[in-house]
């Protein structure tokens, strides 16, 4: 049990001393996951809206599939990408395996269902009467859609935050397609797994605390944005 307390102390030490190795890894975690989350959001929010506002055959089935994929195991995404990006795989020519780009792609795949599904839920959560009232007051179709999107913005932002949280906290995919290479693809979660493997439990716990601190800062910033 002393490890947890020692881990806390160690986390404070590492933060105060701005330990260069820790800062580098934390910065990389943030960059990779933020990029993945941003790119996935740019795809998923419009696509989710498209699915919500259109009625087509199999819509319920599609939404069911998307929601099922919320549970896709991170190692499965990693495995899939590993096979795809391997030197002997179909996309091996791109030489992307064991690069940060591969990690971004992995995290995008991982959180895409989450962002899509929650965007659809967010839009469904807006009372149907709002759009109906707007239309009856003479709003055009696109004006009504914009109104619904505006009403749903808090829930959409919550979806983005959840997507980011899943991206920055995952280790299975990062380990498989990143490879945990020092100075290249090493992020906080893969270092935690490495240091725990070495038996450096305090350092592993300290790094976990730093990851949570990073998440806290991001949540505060996003919440500020939301209150505007």
């Amino acid at each position: 049990m002393t490890e947890i307390w020692d881990g806390l102390t160690k986390a404070v030490q590492l933060l105060i001393s701005l330990d260069p190795a820790v800062m580098e890894v934390a910065g990389r975690s943030l960059t990779i996951s933020a990029t993945a989350c941003l790119l996935a959001s740019l795809i998923c929010i419009p696509l989710g809206s498209l699915i919500h506002f259109h009625h087509f055959r199999g819509k319920r089935v599609l939404i069911n599939i998307i929601q099922t994929l919320f549970s896709v195991p991170t190692v499965l995404v990693g495995l899939f990408l590993l096979v795809l990006l391997s030197r002997s795989g179909p996309l091996g020519e791109l030489r992307l395996l064991f690069t940060p780009t591969a990690m971004v792609i992995g995290q995008m795949i991982l959180i895409t269902p989450l962002l899509l599904g929650l965007t659809i839920s967010a839009l469904s959560g807006v009372s149907k009467e709002i759009a109906d009232t707007a239309t009856s007051l003479g709003a055009s179709g696109s004006q009504a859609i914009r109104l619904v999107l505006k009403e749903a913005r808090y829930a959409v932002l919550a979806a983005v935050m959840l997507g980011f949280a899943r991206a920055i906290s995952e280790v299975g995919c990062a380990l498989m397609v990143g490879g945990n290479i020092r100075g290249a693809t090493r992020v906080i979660t893969t270092v935690i797994s490495l240091e725990a493997g070495k038996g450096n439990l305090e350092l592993a716990i300290a790094l976990g605390m730093i990851l949570l601190l990073l998440a806290l800062i991001i949540n505060i910033v996003l919440n500020r944005l939301q209150q505007r």
Binding site: R87, L97, L175, G179, R182, V191, A196, G197, K198
Partner: protein
């Protein structure tokens, strides 16, 4: 009816989970023995092979975790496992000196560090061998190969690269020993400059994953021969340096002082050194790979007792 169906489904789900949980705790179980083993003994399938035989013989439930030597010893210190099987002489000595290992009895002798099998480390790399280490032979071949890799890598890091375990495992310990024996300061010359130059790649992962990475990057790496043979079918890497005094890899077992089942732990140690089990270890993998993955205990190579 619309409301009832999901409720029934929920009740069935909860009941199923409940029955599963109760079912697990309700049985009388054989004695549990927890073992933390270095990944090389596990990735080769040796432990899977020996597990059933041991369990039948002693009515035990052998629970094996494949870990790097670092965490395996940590688990042993904390008493989370009863036995550790590792391959890092320096760390093992520290473990014994710290009082974390109980004396075991083998062949009538008492010892804390029980050696029970060995094989050799080898340097593997791409068949093109851009650093030209394949022609090296003799007792200092590993050191000379590391020097060539360092020199060629610094000149052309896109062509000559080395993937290191970088995880404080026994294999990583051996790699550091070779760099030191080859005249380098590991932290500065290799990790520092090598990483900056881009030829030294610290993977921070297990042996299997490191081999896959070296294969993908067409790089050199140090591996125990057993894991390499077990993975060879999926790799383009070839063995390049197989000689050298420093390459000896001895596996040991230690009974943990803080473990909960020292009696069964002694049984495991006795088992590993029993002549018929030694014969199984010597023959393990020969049908699949054409040569043994491990050699049985030999007092002249592994030391007594």
């Amino acid at each position: 009816m619309k409301v009832i169906a999901p409720r029934i489904a929920l009740i069935v789900l909860v009941l199923t989970l409940l029955v599963t949980v109760l079912g697990c705790s309700g049985q009388t179980e054989p004695e549990v023995l927890r073992v933390a083993t270095t990944t090389s003994l596990y990735d080769t399938g040796l432990w899977d092979y020996l597990e059933d035989i041991f369990e039948d013989r002693y009515d035990a439930d052998l629970q094996i975790q494949a870990k790097g030597t670092g965490i395996a010893l940590e688990l042993g210190m904390n008493g989370d496992v009863d036995v550790v099987t590792v391959h890092d002489p320096l760390k093992e000595a520290a473990f014994v000196a710290g009082g974390y290992a109980l004396n075991a009895t083998v062949d009538g002798n008492s010892t804390a560090r029980v050696t029970w099998a060995y094989n050799y480390f080898i340097i593997v790399g791409p068949a093109s061998d851009p650093a030209g280490v394949g022609s090296l032979t003799g007792s200092l071949a590993p050191e000379e190969a590391f020097q060539k890799i360092q020199q060629e890598g610094a000149l052309d890091p896109d062509t000559v690269r080395f993937v290191s375990r970088g995880d404080e495992s026994g294999t990583h310990g051996k790699e550091k020993a070779i760099w030191a024996s080859a005249g380098y300061n590991y932290t500065e010359d290799i990790v520092g400059n090598g990483t900056a130059d881009g030829w030294y790649i610290e993977a921070g992962t297990g042996m299997g994953a490191t081999l896959v990475m070296a294969d993908e990057l067409m790089a050199y790496t140090l591996t125990d021969k057993g894991t390499f043979l077990a993975y060879q079918g999926d790799l383009d890497l070839v063995p390049l340096v197989e000689t050298g005094d420093i390459m000896l890899n001895v596996y040991t077992a230690m009974i943990c002082t803080n473990g909960v089942n020292p009696g069964m732990a002694q049984n495991l140690v006795t088992f590993l050194r029993a002549p018929e089990i030694q014969a199984l270890i010597a023959g393990y993998g020969v049908p699949e790979y054409g040569e043994p993955l491990f050699y049985p205990w030999d007092p002249e190579i592994c030391g007594l007792p």
